[in-house]
Structure formats: C-alpha cells, structure tokens
C-alpha cells in the first residue's frame, strides 16, 4: 500500500503550448518599455551640467563614507541566516493552507506541531541573544 499523489493540470503532456506564457511576455515587454521610456524622456528633457559633487555616488544626500567594498560584520550573516531558515520553513504553510479542508483536523494538528517546533527554535534564538546587535 502506498500513496500516489494525483496531480491534475489543464495541459496534458504533449499538448503543452508556450502561448500560456504570452501574457507574461506582454507584461515583461510593457514593463521594460515604461522603464526605458522614463529614462529616455529624462535624458531628452533635463539639462546636463555635471560637476564633481554631482558625480559622487548618491548616499542619501550625505558625502560618501569610505569605500563601497568592505567586509560586512558577521552579525549581518546571523540575521540573514535566521531569516532564510524561518522564511523557507514557512513555505510549508502554503500547501497546507490550500489543502486545508481536505486535510481536516489531522492537518491542523500537524501544522500546529510544526509551528510549535519553529516557535521553540525562535525562543531559543532569542534567549541566546542572536537578535542583540550589541
């Protein structure tokens, strides 16, 4: 006895036509046109009077502080890592939400367990001070 997850799509293999993606292509083209158009319009209309201060990299209106390439603190890495882990694990919530009415109470209990385990991980990380920037 074993489970076979049945999966139904409207296009059967062999009848798959890329025209499904036509609308996506249209959106991409329009988005690109609008962006390029805005830049082109700016180039045509604005006066061009460059001087040294204007050519500096934009840093919220302040003079730049140091080189753009320097080592980042490992603290950024910890935050990024925690984000990745918690973010990716949240992906399991989507299929569960979609199939919620079919899974019923079992799915609910399982998902609560899952979230509970994540929660304990979160408490652990918190208490260990990984969120402290010092």
């Amino acid at each position: 006895m074993h489970v076979v997850f049945v999966y139904k799509t409207t296009t059967m293999p062999g009848t798959y036509i890329p025209s499904d993606y036509l609308s996506v292509a249209v959106i991409i083209i329009f988005a690109a046109l609008i962006g390029l158009g805005a830049i082109a319009a700016g180039l045509l209309v604005r006066p061009r009077r460059p001087y040294a201060r204007k050519l500096m990299p934009y840093e919220s209106g302040n003079p730049p502080v140091g080189e753009p390439r320097y080592r980042f603190s490992v603290k950024f890495y910890i935050v990024a890592m925690l984000f990745v882990v918690f973010d990716v694990e949240a992906v399991f919530l989507y299929p569960w939400a979609v199939a919620y009415d079919k899974l019923g109470i079992f799915g609910f209990v399982e998902m609560m367990l899952f979230i509970f385990i994540l929660l304990i991980g979160y408490i652990y990380v918190w208490k260990k001070g990984a969120f402290n920037w010092e």
Binding site: M1, H2, V3, V4, I105, F106, V109, I120, Y124
Partner: protein, 483 residues
C-alpha cells in the same frame, strides 16, 4: 495503483517514539536556557530516551507490522530492532560524555538535544518505506551530526573535522537525491514497494538508468557507512570530533546507513540482487582490506579505531551481500555487538583524557595495567571482541556473518574476511601488548565518573553475555526480522 488515502490522527501512533524524542530534544533546548548545571540536562535526556524506548517496546512485536501515512512509514521488527540499537547508542553516549564535555570546555545543553534530533533522524530512516521519508530522516541525522562534530568551536581540529564531514556529507546527499530522482522518473513512485512493483511491471530491471539510480543511492549510503572508496572523510572526522561524538557516530549513522541500505536493496530492488551484489562485493573486499591494513600504521588511537570501524563495516556488508533475510539477521546481530564493543573502547579512550592531557596516542597506553588493572582489563575485553577472539561477542558476530555468507554461496568472501580479520588482530592486540607488557612512559590518571562506570559495566557485561550465550541476542534478532 493510484488511490486516495486519507491520513488520520491514528497514523500518529507508530511514530510516538520519534515524537517523544523530538519533544525531549525541545524540552532540553528550553531547559538549557534555564538551568546552569548541564548534568541535569543530560539526566533529563537519558530519562526521556528511556520513555521513548518504553514506547517502542509497547508498540513492538505484538501486532503485525504497522504502516502509517499511506505506507510511507512502517514499523516492523527490522525497524524496531534498529531503534533499539539507536536508543542504546544515545544512552551510552550520554553516559560517557557528561564528564568529558566538561573537560573539553564544550559543555553545552544543545549537545544533548542535538543527540536527540540526530537519533530521531536515524529512527525515521529505519522506518522509512518511502524515499522522501528516507531522505528527510537522513538529513535530520546528518545535519545534527555536522554540528555535533564541530561542537568544540575553539579547537581548529574540531572545526576542520566538521568542515570535511559537512562537505562530503552534503555531496553524498546530492548523489542520493539524484539517484532518487532517476528512480522516480523511471518508476513514477518513491515508495519502496511501489518501485519494486513498477520495475517488474514496466520490465525495466535491466535498464542502464535503473542501474545508475541504484548506483547513486549505494554511493550515498556508502558515504554514510564509510565504505571504501567513500571512506576518506572517516579517519579525519573521527580524529577531530569530540571523542564521545566519535563513539556516537561510529555506531549510530553507520547503523542507520545499514538500515536504509538493507531496506532499499531488499524492498525496492529485490529483482536486481545480482546487480547490486556485484557492486557491493568489491566494495566489501576493499573496505575490509583498507580498514585492516591502514589501521596497522596508525599511532593515534582515534584514527586507529576509525579504520577499525571501516573494516567492521566491511564485515557487516557481507550480511547484505548474502542477499537473504538470514544474512540481514546476521548483519543486524553484528551491529548490536559492534555497538557495545565500539562504545566501550571509546569510553576507555575518553577516560584517558584529562585537563592538559590528550591521551590519544597509542604510547599513552604503555603499562596501563600496572596503574589501572581494571580499566586495562576492560580494554582487553573490548580489543579481544573487536578482533573477534572467543569467548567475546565479537567472535559470535563475525561467525554468524561468515556463516550466512557461506550459506549464500560466497565461500571466497568468507575466506577473504577471515584473512583480514586475522590481520586486524595485530593492531588490536598491539594495544593489549602495550598495556600489559610495556613499562609506562608517564603517569596516567584516569578520569572517572559514575555514569562512565555504568556505561563500561553495561558494555563489558553485554560483550561477555552475548559471547557466552549468543542465543539470547540471536533469538531476539531472528524474532524481530524473520518473525
């Protein structure tokens, strides 16, 4: 073949032991945040493991094999016996590591919860009847073990061991996935029994792609078991890891690897027995040869035991090569015996470690019998057992494996194994010789603790009991696997 399966809450029952261990692991994480004394965490860990063990016992054997989650998870005698091995492994590991981790200044509460998670992964592997579940169990085990190996963050050797183990482990799991994907693409299912059915129904047993998928999976399991030529990581990792973790991972992941290897080959590819036996035979011979011969040249006892564990994996593999359920029985029997003798030997290694003294050189054992006769005698038992000298259990383990491989018609394999087992006796007996016939170079004091004594007493007693009354263990294994 297709059917709708509803999964109900009752499906949780067969995984109660796993759930218990996960809960214990989570409790330990939280407990670690509250209590200062890590011994409390360890004791709670042992207690929790015993609860899970009791759960397994309650679920065990009184019913037909139980299947849950639409056939993805199976609880049969085979899985249960492996779970017994994992439980004993984790309990003995906690016993021998309480004092040791303090000496290494790596006394973290996470240590114990990671042991729990890793063991849960192994248990899931033993029960996996589907490649997805198998993969998840394997990763849960592996990810926890990577951290455990690198737990001594301040020690460059531990860091390096963790790096090597992590990279080769991740590499091997990519191979496993590729094998799974090929097999899935051919058969349309990831269920082990479903694969066996499809292979027959679609008549693709001889297909090279099927063969390729099988080879990839064997490569991945070979990495976990440390079979030659996928053993390169083992000596380095065993040497660099904390000794208690070396003991843990020389038994646990290896046993779990054998559990899935046996399960996949016997349940999913029974029709290709000729093919997989022809892959495994040269691997087994090379494994026994490399393990036994390279170990002769080692001067560090952890490295020596690493090669010894490689050689033992070769002997155990013979049980699978035999291709019969009796062969599988002898392999599981061997694993159980190996658990006791290996952890016992590592326990003695750990006892030599103290503040400012590594105690990992073979020369540190010179003349140990004069200052510590009892510890030396225990080490003698473990070494005799590892070498396979009667009346210890190691002899019984080897004897049954060799007998089954002869019954299956591979007489030459048994002869090769006996030859290498004689070669391996040299380096085991060298330690005995150092302990009893050499003069001590320096004063060695042993670090003892009550839990360590308990672990040593259990391992030594089990080796002698199983050596003198082999039928106790053998009947249990037979009952579990053959029914």
């Amino acid at each position: 073949m297709e059917m709708e399966t509803t999964i109900s809450l009752l499906d949780i029952r067969p995984i109660i032991p796993e759930l218990t261990l996960i809960c214990v692991g989570l409790i330990l994480i939280l407990l670690d945040l509250i209590v200062k004394k890590k011994e409390i965490v360890a004791v709670v860990g042992i207690a929790g493991t015993l609860v899970a063990l009791f759960g397994t016992y309650k679920l065990y054997g009184f019913y037909e094999p139980q299947v849950a989650f639409g056939g993805m998870f199976v609880l049969d005698g085979y899985a249960n016996f492996f779970k017994l091995i994992f439980f004993l492994n984790i309990i003995l590991t906690i016993c021998i590591s309480m004092k040791y981790m303090k000496i290494e200044k790596a006394s973290f509460g996470e240590y114990y919860s990671l042991l729990m998670f890793s063991t849960t992964g192994m248990m899931i592997m033993a029960s996996a009847a589907d490649l997805i579940v198998l993969y998840l169990g394997l990763e849960l085990m592996a990810l926890s073990t990577y951290i455990l190996v690198g737990l001594m963050r301040k020690k460059p050797r531990s860091n390096e061991a963790a790096i090597k183990y992590f990279f080769l482990g991740a590499f091997s799991s990519a191979f496993l996935l590729y094998g799974i994907s090929l097999t899935y693409g051919l058969t349309g299912t990831t269920s082990l029994s479903g694969i066996a059915e499809s292979l027959n129904a679609l008549n693709i047993i001889g297909s090279p792609i099927t063969y390729l998928g099988l080879i990839f999976m064997i490569v991945a399991f070979g990495f976990k078991i440390a079979l030659v030529p996928f053993h390169m990581w083992a000596p380095d990792v065993y040497e660099g890891a904390p000794t208690s973790i070396t003991a843990f991972m020389s038994v646990g992941p290896k046993a779990a690897g054998f559990a899935v290897l046996g399960r996949v080959l016997f349940d999913a590819f029974p029709a290709m027995q000729g093919q997989w036996a022809s892959i495994l035979i040269p691997m087994a011979v090379l494994t026994m040869a490399a393990g036994s011969i390279i170990a002769l040249a080692q001067t560090n006892i952890k490295r020596m035991l690493a090669y010894s564990s490689i050689a033992h994996a070769g002997y155990m593999l013979l049980g699978i090569i035999a291709g019969t359920h009796e062969g599988l029985t002898s392999m599981v029997n061997y694993l159980m015996i190996y658990l006791f003798m290996n952890i016992g030997a590592f326990a003695i290694v750990i006892m030599l470690r103290r503040e400012g003294f590594q105690g990992e050189d073979l020369e540190d054992y010179m003349g140990l019998s004069k200052s510590h006769p009892l510890a030396s005698f225990l080490m003698l038992i473990f070494m005799f057992s590892l070498a396979g000298i009667p009346p210890t259990a190691g002899f019984i383990g080897k004897f049954y494996v060799f007998m089954e491989v002869i019954n299956a018609g591979y007489v030459y394999l048994a002869i090769i194994a006996v030859v290498f087992s004689v070669i391996s006796a040299f380096f085991y007996l060298r330690i005995v010789m150092y302990m009893y016939m050499k003069d001590p170079k320096q004063e060695v004091t042993l670090t003892t603790s009550p839990t360590m004594s308990i672990a040593l007493a259990i391992t030594a007693m089990m080796i002698l009991i199983f050596g003198i009354f082999p039928s106790i263990l053998l009947n249990l294994v037979r009952y579990s696997i053959l029914g």
